[in-house]
Amino acid sequence: MVGGEAGAGITRSGFLFAKTCLRGGLYVFGANDYQSLIRGGHNFYTVRAENEMVYSQADTVDLLLALNKETILLHKDELVSGTGIIYDGDQISITGEEIGRDDIKLYPVPLRNIVKSLEGPQIMENTVALGAAIALLDYESELLNSVLRDTFKPKIAEQNIEAAKQGYSYIRENYGNSFGYRLKKTGSAGKKRVFLTGNEAIGLGALNAGCKLYAAYPMTPATSILHFLAPLDREYKMVVIQTENEIAAVNMVAGASFAGVRSMTATSGGGFCLMSEGLGMIGMTETSPVIVLVQRPGPSTGLPTYTAQGDLRFAIHASQGEFPRVLIAPGDVEECFYSTLEAFNLAEKFQIPALIVSDKYLSESHGTDEPFDQNRIGIDRGKLITETEYRGEEEYKRHKFTEDGISPRAMPGTKGAIVRTNADEHNELGYTTEDPVLTIKMADKRFKKLDALTKELENYETVKLYGPEEADATIIGWGSTKGPIREAMKLLSKEDIKVNYLQIVYLHPFPADKVQKTLQSAKKTIVVENNKTSQLSSLIREHLLTAVDHKILKYDGRPFNPEALSQSIKGVL
């Protein structure tokens, strides 16, 4: 764990350390925790590295890089016997007594003086600490050097490599091999693996899906999608635009979709509130942008930089009236990528809004994965007319009644076709209507698409089951709880406790049959969610008329930790 004040480069340092682990063939998970401020306060980034796949952060800390004293005191309860703390002994005075522990190993390193002797900027103290950490863990400093070289411009990289070297030597000379933990390069060192956040994976998915217009207004924790895509717009021949607000963003992506390009926007709860009216317009006009909702705790502004799953019901029901939509909740970085591709396909195929619902924990934590397969999910644009001329026998009708409710979709500019749509109820040509018969027919047309979508989704992995078929209990979850749940399952299996886990990836339309099938054979059901009212339980009750047996709910803005979660599960078994 790296901890310190905001602005001290905490996330960057943690990320560099994580990448150093990755390049040694380790599986790595990195999670950040920061407050809604720019300077001061307390930030930390935890890195967990293992020889096997790692799904979440751990409950405890083995090595702490403390850039201020507060970090040590705030995290003292997470330290285990033998935890090492690297800190600047000239700046921070701390004793085991003060921490209240005699089993902690203190490793003061003169971070500031080393940086001064190198005439570097103060923030380089972090790199000295990283070098010191590599030495304590008996890891390979060349791996850190390669990461530094890829991160910084050559001159600055060399300066940082020297800083890391000095930190490394200081530990070697003063403390030898006194630390109990070791990191070892594995056989898969050099194997290509990606290390990225959920938001970056969604961004990559959008690029791969051929998204050509991304419009958004900054809102934590969705902003990093904008940050990711903005510098890439030239390379990928797309338009990335920061609009005046979320209302503009949602209307802009609707317009772009109407014009015939794949488009996407992303926001968090507050911005999604502003987008709700536009969402309904998208449903009514049968346009097909993708909307990403990255949740954070509410109500209202809530805890802007923390995590929650409180918007599930809101996303399913947002906007007035009734219209079909699809809602996908990826649970890890891999699913963030592939779900985004699926979202674009489903949106266009069924001419509906596609919602990807994630949260701060998933969107900003780094996970390890194999490089994504760019061919696994093809591009399906549905009934899009790509010819430059419309050759239909009758006048082109944007909202033509068809068997499956999906109308052929021409782009404006297609010769021979006038493309008209309407947020008012409309006839097949897109002209306003208030006719009661036509009103019913149009509503039925839109909902035929939901039937078609539900049928299509039978072939999708709308739910996933992990663990043994036969188990003492079945955990049910959605979204980012996946990581901690899978880690908790590892811990439970060590104690021979057999649980399995049903992850519901598609929450709307609700995959009732598939969920029912698993729940029928479940001995005991436990819903795990990051919210107060267990919205997933209510969905299960709504669709299956079944009450779950137990609910483990966390709504303090923080993700579940695996050890604590496994204890909670044991508590209800």
Partner: protein
């Protein structure tokens, strides 16, 4: 090239007899004909209000959106396919109340499109309430004792927001309005026309006669359309004499001019398939 017959739609017009919207509808159609537009290459975007029905009355591509959001919707269409001619129609409440936040940004952004605001200084379709361009003291159902704040000045706002084409028309002078629309569509950049269009049912004050007694044409008085300061002076003229015509017309690079990578190929023509993300993926290793 489009004819008046081509532009007809099967929809029965439901505006009140004598509504100022008729002048705008006819001026727009005539402008399309004069410009030799093709129906398929033109997109009409409208918001909510009496003006919103424009989509029903002109047989070109159309998107009847929601209240106040004509601009971002139209911008999205134009950014996706700059080959289309995009004309947004909004009402005074639609644009200057509900959609005000988008207005100054659209002017500033300078996407190559046209915005025509049907300004009747009252809310019509909701049966007669005050709007932000209602005159101080205007009595309506929602302001029985008269509007308290002073009226909004959209022309001045457009001018100070770096507008490149800022004009005002009067639907009672259809020929003059048609010429304004022709110039607006020809303009490279964001063209804005505020149009006085008397509401014969709910605005007892700002009637055809009221406007006819006051409006005069800027071009008749030798106004220099490249002088923003002069334009601003004219924008504040209100009372016995009210100017119509082009206040300001000077091009600057459009939003698209700055997007060099998509300047020549519309986004609709950039392939969706086989986008190779390997180089970006490699940076994550």
């Amino acid at each position: 090239m489009v004819t008046l017959e081509d532009l007809k739609t099967p929809k029965t017009n439901t505006w009140c007899p004598g509504c100022g919207n008729f002048g705008i509808l006819m001026a727009f159609k005539k402008a399309l004909i004069e410009l030799g537009m093709e129906r398929e290459d033109t997109v009409l975007v409208s918001g909510i209000g009496c003006h919103g029905k424009m989509v029903n009355y002109v047989n070109v591509n159309g998107f009847h959106g929601i209240h106040g959001r004509v601009l971002p919707l139209a911008e999205g269409i134009k950014l996706a396919n700059p080959k289309l001619t995009v004309v947004g129609f909004a009402g005074d409440a639609d644009q200057y109340n509900e959609g005000w936040g988008h207005f100054v940004h659209a002017v500033r952004m300078n996407v190559d499109m046209t915005l025509i605001v049907h300004d009747n200084m009252v809310l019509g379709l909701t049966t007669g309430q005050a709007t932000s361009t209602s005159q101080q003291g205007f009595k309506s159902k929602s302001t029985p004792f008269g509007v308290i704040p002073p009226m909004l000045n959209p022309v001045a706002h457009a001018l100070v927001s770096h507008g490149t084409f800022v004009a005002r028309g009067f639907s009672g002078d259809m020929f003059h309005l048609k010429n304004l629309i022709v110039e607006a569509i020809k303009h490279r950049g964001f063209a804005f026309i505020d149009v006085f269009q008397p509401c014969v049912t709910f605005n007892y004050l700002n009637t055809y006669d009221w406007f006819r007694q006051r409006v005069y044409k800027l071009e008749d008085e030798g106004h220099d359309v490249t002088d923003r300061k002069k334009a601003l002076e004219k924008a504040f003229e209100w009372g016995d004499r009210i100017p119509i015509g082009i206040f300001y017309n000077r091009e600057r690079p459009t939003y698209h001019d700055n997007l060099l990578h998509v300047k020549d190929v519309p986004l609709t023509k950039v392939p969706t398939e086989n986008v190779d993300i390997t180089s970006t993926l490699n940076e994550m290793m």
